[in-house]
């Protein structure tokens, strides 16, 4: 038994090393550029693919192998430079969620490019020359390569610390991590510094990926799998802290190794639970510091909410009339798209509610959408309950979890809050994914069909439209209620709000729970519209969908999420139908959106309108 535990601990250390390589790059990049690089996992995946190509192309032998691994790392570094120069350099001043979203666009693009170049099948690399065998430890065999990996982590940490503490460049990086503006004021070439930091970070990610080659097959799922764990490591360690990332990587690596022994079913939950606990006890991670300036709300400068200009009202009325009058003439496919649009309008509006007026960042809003969907589906499956009961339970379940998760999340702000919401969403996702007996795991829950009275697609569409639009309008009303003012007040100036006797925590908590409840309504209708629920309903891509809808429409206007949801659903539907590489197209759209329409579609339309007609509603 003791031997087993030791081996398990050693294999945990080996995983911790790879995790550390990726997390180190992520944290160094964040420290200097303040960008949370979602595409870091893609760089890791590219490292593995490039290493496979180089190692199989180069002559066999130690030189070919190690040359291939290092070459892959350097190539990935150059790809990182490309991404930095073409994209990130232009959005350093954008709000955090925009940056996250832009880098997620890169994730999508890289996924399809990798699919184009290397194909969908898993690739197996050769073993490392000289490290093929295994050693005997307490009578059990342990792979030599894993021992080598265990040494790589501390070695890289040592080299990085030397680099940062013994060279002029390293000193500049540390200075920039502490105070970016000051370093700029001292005349340091920031562009060069940022680009070189990005090169280093990308190299580390590429190296991490390349070193995985002898351990596991290379596939297209590596990027999201590693990035979520790297986020956890970086956030637990404290954003920007190298030593913190190392400690956290050890913690998470071991947690995985032993979690499999003790709770094989809930290892993922365990990891995110640890992260949640750390963040509640130490809101800036183990070794992190509080950010220099209080982070602004997700939207940056935001005009006061004004009544919509008459033109927009007429447009809204016309759209509503079309939504009510035209569907009887639509075919089944169009009806299903329209139903989905109505659902996503509410989903997007509920996210906008906390992001825009609430000033809170959420990267895991799908949790509440999915919880609503699962609540309805589980009730239908296990209690054979009528649809009305399921639709009623959905918002309650989502709202309840909103209260629970929100209690933790609304204490934090900015990137940390976004990461904690992501963590909770991943907990919910892993429960749905791993608790196969109840949720059906990856196979989902099937046969969630509406009752006879709403079975007709047209009837179900009208039902959905009525409830989702009604809930969306209610959310708008809340923003103009006394509570809405308190919510916007605490976003604008938390100190002032406190001094007025507004309990900012309670206001944020209630807002978060209300948004969760609204997302739950949308989720319930989604389950019955699709007839089934899968773990994807609460996965990261679903959360990103919601963010895209809000940002596509524009976070600063109330009509933004509505426009965004309709545009996004239509766009995605068409892309998936017409374009083979729809991820590539969607990623390009995201990147273009962030670069050229930072105010979103509704924001841009409004700006154009006001240029011609003067300020609206004044």
């Amino acid at each position: 038994m003791a031997e087993n535990l030791l081996l398990q601990a050693l294999s945990g250390l080996a995983s911790a090393s790879s995790l550390f390589l990726v997390a180190a790059g992520l944290t160094v990049i964040f420290g200097v550029t303040r960008i949370v690089n979602f595409a870091h996992g893609s760089l890791y995946m590219l490292g593995a693919y490039l290493a496979w190509t180089l190692v199989t192309a180069l002559p066999r032998g130690p030189l070919g192998f190690w040359g291939g691994v290092l070459g892959a790392a350097l190539l990935v570094g150059l790809i990182g430079v490309l991404v930095e120069v073409l994209l990130l350099r232009r959005i350093y001043r954008a709000p955090e969620l925009f940056q996250l979203l832009a880098t997620f666009g890169v994730v999508l693009i890289v996924q399809d490019l990798a699919l184009l170049v290397w194909g969908p099948q898993d690739l197996l690399g050769p073993r490392a020359p000289g490290l093929r065998g295994s050693v005997e430890i307490l009578g059990l065999r342990f792979p030599l390569y894993d021992l080598f990996l265990i040494a790589v982590g501390p070695a890289v940490l040592g080299l990085l610390l030397l680099l940062f503490h013994r060279t002029r460049w390293g000193t500049l990086v540390r200075a920039a991590t502490q105070d970016r503006e000051m370093v700029g004021a001292l005349g340091v070439n920031q562009r060069l510094l940022f680009t070189s930091v990005f090169f280093l970070g990308a190299c580390l990610a590429g190296l991490g990926g390349a070193l995985q080659l002898p351990r596991e097959s290379v596939n297209l799922h590596m990027d999201l799998a590693i990035i979520v764990e790297a986020f956890v490591v970086v956030v637990v360690g404290g954003l920007g802290s190298l030593v913190g990332a190392f400690l956290a990587a050890l913690l998470i690596g071991e947690l995985h190794a032993f979690g499999i022994l003790v709770f094989p079913r809930i290892t993922l939950v365990l990891v995110f639970l640890v992260m949640a606990v750390v963040l509640v006890l130490r809101p800036h991670g183990l070794l992190g510091r509080p950010p220099e300036a209080p982070p602004a709300g997700a939207g940056g400068a935001e005009p006061p909410l004004r009544p919509a200009p008459p033109a927009l009202r007429r447009l809204g009325a016309a759209a509503l009339a079309a939504a009510v009058l035209l569907p009887p003439f639509a075919d089944a496919y169009a009806l299903s798209v329209l139903t989905e649009m109505a659902i996503f309008v509410l989903f997007a509006a509920s996210l906008h509610f906390i992001m825009g007026p609430g000033g809170m960042a959420s990267f895991g809003h799908a949790a509440y959408f999915g919880l609503g969907a699962y609540a309805a589906a589980l009730l239908a499956k296990w209690a054979a309950a009528p649809m009305a009961a399921g639709l009623l339970l959905a918002p309650f379940a989502a709202g309840l979890f909103g209260l629970l998760f929100g209690w933790f999340c609304v204490r934090l702000s900015g990137v940390y809050a976004a990461m904690l919401t992501l963590a909770f969403a991943q907990i919910a996702w892993s429960v749905a994914f791993q608790w196969v007996e109840v949720t059906g795991g990856d196979n989902g829950i099937l046969g969630v069909w509406p009752d006879a009275w709403a079975a007709d697609p047209l009837a179900y569409y009208y039902l959905t439209l009525a409830f989702c639009l009604g809930a969306t309008l209610l959310l708008r009303r809340v923003l103009h209620a006394p509570f809405g003012y308190a919510l916007r007040a605490q976003r604008d100036s938390p100190l002032r709000a406190e001094a007025l006797g507004v309990d900012a925590f309670q206001v944020r908590w209630l807002a978060f729970s209300l948004a969760a409840l609204a997302a739950g309504i949308a989720g319930g209708f989604f389950a019955y519209a699709k007839g089934s629920v899968f773990p994807t309903a609460l996965s990261i891509p679903r959360s990103v969908d919601a963010l895209l809808m809000v940002l596509l429409g524009g976070v600063r206007t109330l009509s933004g999420p509505i426009v965004g949801a309709i545009a996004f659903t239509g766009l995605q539907e068409q892309l998936m139908r017409l374009v083979e590489l729809w991820r590539l197209a969607l990623g390009a759209v995201i990147v273009a959106l962030v670069l050229f329409f930072p105010q979103g579609l509704a924001g841009a339309a409004r700006a154009a309108y006001e240029r011609r007609h003067g300020p609206a509603g004044a």
Partner: protein, 258 residues
């Protein structure tokens, strides 16, 4: 009803070994305007933040209106009628000027948690809000975004917002900091006017302001109380002069008007 409204005992705040406020016993009499002055770094603002609960003291107690508020949260003391203003203008930049005041007024209704009410409910406060804006002279800007106001007018809005809570006691943090002369006079007159029926404690750097305004003045240096009394007695205190001018008092003489 006791004569003292705010009282501290042995109030001390240390930041990692640095003692910012040390053993301060302060008594503010009900219905007076009390000034807290001192040179830069004397601990005025720290003291102020302790009183309004934005900082937690290392030692000592704070009693307000007969009850111990040492362990309370800022929002709680605000609801007890002890309301502060801020040195750096803290307005809600993305609300209009009128809405800024209305957010404070809606507090009178109790918690701001009723999310089901409509906005019409808030219209009833528009008149009162306009009156307050009139009072501080920024009524013409009522529908402007607060973030667009120039500095001096933000301070005026700040005071209007504080007044909107109808505080029993107002704590003003350097209400005239960074203002032009004519603005200073207007704010002094305003504070005098609104102090009727309330207690005011103000932190000031500008001696001209406290001279005409305060009934009692407490002078802080290096975190300690140096002197206390009316302006006449305090301004003649050689130690106070030394603290302000950084020299021995007898070499400087007593300034007539600082």
């Amino acid at each position: 009803m006791s004569d003292t409204i705010l009282e501290t005992e042995g109030l001390t705040k240390e930041f990692r070994g640095f003692v910012a406020v040390s053993d301060v016993d302060l008594r503010v009499r009900r219905g007076t305007i009390h000034g807290l002055i001192g040179p830069n770094g004397a601990g005025k603002t720290t003291c102020f933040n302790l009183l309004t609960k934005f900082l937690q003291p290392t030692r000592g107690t704070i009693r307000y209106d007969g009850r111990d508020i040492t362990g309370k949260k800022p929002a709680e003391v605000a609801r007890l009628g002890l309301v502060r203003s801020f040195q750096i203008s803290a307005v809600f930049p993305h609300l209009t000027v009128l809405e800024n005041v209305r957010v404070a007024l809606q507090r009178q209704r109790g918690g701001s948690f009723d999310f089901w009410r409509s906005e019409t409910l808030l219209r009833q406060y528009d008149d009162r809000a306009m009156a307050l804006l009139e009072d501080v002279g920024i009524a013409p800007y009522a529908h402007l975004q607060a973030g667009e106001l120039p500095y001096g007018r933000k301070r005026a809005l700040e005071i209007a917002t504080t007044l909107a809570l109808d505080p029993v006691m107002m704590l003003l943090d350097e209400p005239t900091a960074g203002m032009a002369h004519e603005d200073v006079d207007r704010i002094v007159a305003l504070v005098k006017r609104v102090s009727a029926g309330r207690t005011v404690l103000l932190v000031e750097h500008n001696l001209r302001v406290v001279a005409g305004l305060c009934d009692t003045i407490t002078v802080l240096t290096r975190g300690r109380v140096l002197a206390e009394g009316d302006y006449a007695s305090v301004s003649r205190n050689p130690e106070v002069i030394a603290a302000y001018l950084g020299t021995e008092a007898d070499k400087v003489g007593v300034p007539q008007h600082v």
